[in-house]
């Protein structure tokens, strides 16, 4: 997984909780982290390390893991819009943007990082409703949900996001029904 996800996660924990909490979860999980909790945005790390960090944060904050990951997704979408504005500027609505993820954004990401393992998004548009099916080798459907909600915030639109688990609890296959309200 790209290092930017890790560095942004640590920054979010520092901002939303505190630097002490961030330090605490790294310290607690360090025995299970190959990197020892040192991340650079240009590196590539095992996604398990993020899972470990989120688990620790959940234990410290008493917030469910899924809620934390979704919140992180919202934060990440906001950061992506600052770091990679060109992907957001070409379209004018959340649903249009989400439709472009698989057939435009991911193609460009692949050009930049040929080895990147990206999740797959199949979309089906029906007016103001978009059905988006997420599938990945990693259990981050909650992160996808947060990214969807964060995109809605960027475009100033209110969205209703219904999630249907297609992975029997594994979190790697989910159907989202997104409705613009």
């Amino acid at each position: 997984m790209k290092g930017i996800v890790f560095s942004e996660f640590i920054e979010m924990v520092e901002d939303k909780f505190s630097p002490e909490i961030a330090d605490q979860i790294i310290q607690s999980a360090s025995g299970r982290l190959k990197t020892g909790g040192s991340y650079t945005s240009v590196g590539v790390y095992d996604h398990i390390e993020l899972v470990e960090l989120v688990k620790e944060l959940s234990a410290v904050s008493n917030i469910p893991v899924d809620d934390l990951v979704t919140t992180f997704g919202v934060h990440l979408a906001g950061r992506f819009s600052v770091l990679y504005p060109t992907f957001f500027e070409g379209v004018t609505s959340t649903l249009d943007f989400l439709e472009s993820v698989d057939n435009h954004i991911h193609i460009e990401v692949k050009k930049l990082y040929p080895g990147a393992e990206l999740p797959e998004f199949k979309t089906e548009r029906n007016g103001s409703q978009l059905i988006m099916e997420y599938s990945s080798t990693r259990p981050f459907s909650s992160l996808a949900k947060g990214l969807i909600e964060g995109s809605g915030l960027y475009y100033g639109e209110t969205l209703e996001v219904e999630a249907e688990d297609l992975s029997k609890g594994l979190g790697n296959h989910m159907r989202f029904t997104i409705t613009r309200v």
């Binding site: 560095s7 991340y39 240009v42």
Partner: protein, 444 residues
């Protein structure tokens, strides 16, 4: 105080850990950066090699290529310089467009046919090229700088070959049709011959009848009264013979039918000849074409024969006459016919004057606003004054094996375009000229 100190120590410890993690991260980032720099360097080297390879390839390709962006011509290969006669490398696109008379598009992908006019030693040479514009971008935007590759291929030979094949196919078609027509006419003539044979039997029988009746009359005048019985007997015999002959002639009552058959046969032959004339007329589709180029193409069709007779061909073409809108194929046929006739006239004169240097002049001149004159003049055997007008009549020919169809067909073609065609000659061994005046454009 102790609490503050403990708090401070905690903060320092936290900062130390953060610093340590940041330092580790920085080290890793530096390592990655170095690795990426190396990869970038290698990629750059590969790109340079690839660029060199592509440039060499472009330089060596036999098709003309020019690379340009919206403002400047970036690169040109030697084939381009050779084909267009100049290298616009480094020039502005606007100036290059003006010099070449060719639009340099930047998008989308497009193909166009273009003519390059170059002044040769004796005449203007026209090269037809197929130009293709290939934008080297995925998505066109008006403001972004982007490059376009223009590829030009010389298709003059291909066009000439097509014309040679088209003409050969046309001639072969006519030959095949002629054979079929002659076969049909032969069948009709056979039928007519039968009718004629039947009709041919009638005159001898009438002659026999005339002879018998004359003899009977003569004997009757010379006979005495005593011979009356004998005379009556002879008259009776003559009458019987007459009845027999007339009866025989009555048997030929189909005579009228034979005559009808002959008439029908003649009519049928006329129809077949008309059909042949109609079908042998080339495509009269009006097209826009370059007249000097058409003359060059026509000459190239019979270049081998011109060389065989060692004839000097001189062109004196009016530069104002370029694009015309006329039926191209019949025009080629007509010009070719003039030139062939001139060659044969030169050949005939050579039989008498072995050292004679044959010469054919092709002259064009624009006349008025929408008219031009084409003259094909030779220094061959010439035409007798009394034949100057007759040579355009069907079947009239000066040649031993001529059909008398070529100039007749040319006259018909010129007439159909409301033009004029006439011949000039000062007589035997004084050469001759075919002069045709035609509109530059006719309505399609």
């Amino acid at each position: 105080m102790r609490n503050t100190l403990e708090e401070l120590e905690k903060q320092i410890s936290l900062l130390e850990r953060r610093f340590s993690r940041e330092r580790d991260a920085r080290k890793e980032a530096e390592k990655l950066l170095e690795q990426k720099s190396l990869e970038l360097y290698e990629t750059n080297q590969l790109l340079r090699m690839e660029n060199l390879r592509i440039m060499k390839l472009i330089q060596s390709l036999p098709v003309a290529m020019v690379l340009y962006d919206q403002k400047t011509v970036i690169a040109v290969n030697p084939s381009f310089e050779s084909l267009f006669g100049e290298s616009p490398e480094g020039r502005s696109v606007a100036e290059t467009e003006a010099r070449l008379g060719l639009e340099m598009r930047d998008h989308p992908e497009y193909r166009v046919q273009h003519e390059i006019h170059k002044q040769g030693e004796t005449h203007e040479e026209v090269t037809t090229v197929l130009v293709q514009y290939v934008p080297l971008i995925e998505h066109h935007t008006a403001d972004a700088v982007h490059e376009t590759l223009m590829v030009a291929m010389d298709i003059s030979d291909r066009i000439k070959n097509d014309e040679v094949q088209q003409y050969a196919a046309f001639q072969a078609g006519i030959a095949e049709m002629s054979a079929s027509i002659l076969h049909n006419i032969g069948n009709i003539v056979t039928g007519m011959h039968g009718s004629l044979m039947h009709l041919g039997r009638i005159p001898p029988q009438i002659k026999r009848l005339e002879k018998g009746v004359s003899k009977a009359l003569e004997q009757s005048q010379q006979a005495e009264d005593t011979d009356l019985v004998a005379t009556n007997q002879r008259n009776e015999q003559v009458m019987q013979a007459t009845v027999k002959i007339l009866s025989g002639l009555r048997g030929e009552e189909k005579m009228v039918q034979y005559i009808d058959k002959l008439e029908l046969g003649i009519h049928h032959i006329g129809e077949i000849i008309q059909l042949q004339q109609k079908a042998a007329r080339p495509d009269t589709h009006i097209t826009s074409f370059n007249f000097p180029s058409m003359l060059n193409d026509t000459l190239s069709l019979i270049q081998d024969r011109i060389e065989k007779y060692n004839i000097e061909v001189v062109r004196d073409l009016d530069p104002k006459l370029q694009k015309v809108e006329l039926p191209r194929n019949p025009m080629i046929q007509m010009v070719m016919n003039f030139i062939k006739n001139s060659m044969e006239a030169v050949g005939e004169r050579l039989l008498e004057e072995y050292s004679h240097q044959g010469k054919i002049e092709i002259i064009t001149a624009v006349v008025g606003e929408n008219s031009f004159k084409l003259t094909v003049r030779d220094n061959g055997c010439g035409i007798y004054p009394d034949r100057l007008e007759k040579i355009f009549v069907f079947g009239e020919t000066n040649k031993e094996q001529g059909s008398g169809y070529g100039l007749h067909s040319a006259a018909n073609f010129v007439r159909s375009l409301n033009g004029k065609l006439y011949a000039e000659s000062d007589g035997e061994n004084s050469g001759a000229a075919m002069i045709v005046q035609l509109p530059i454009r006719v309505d399609r």
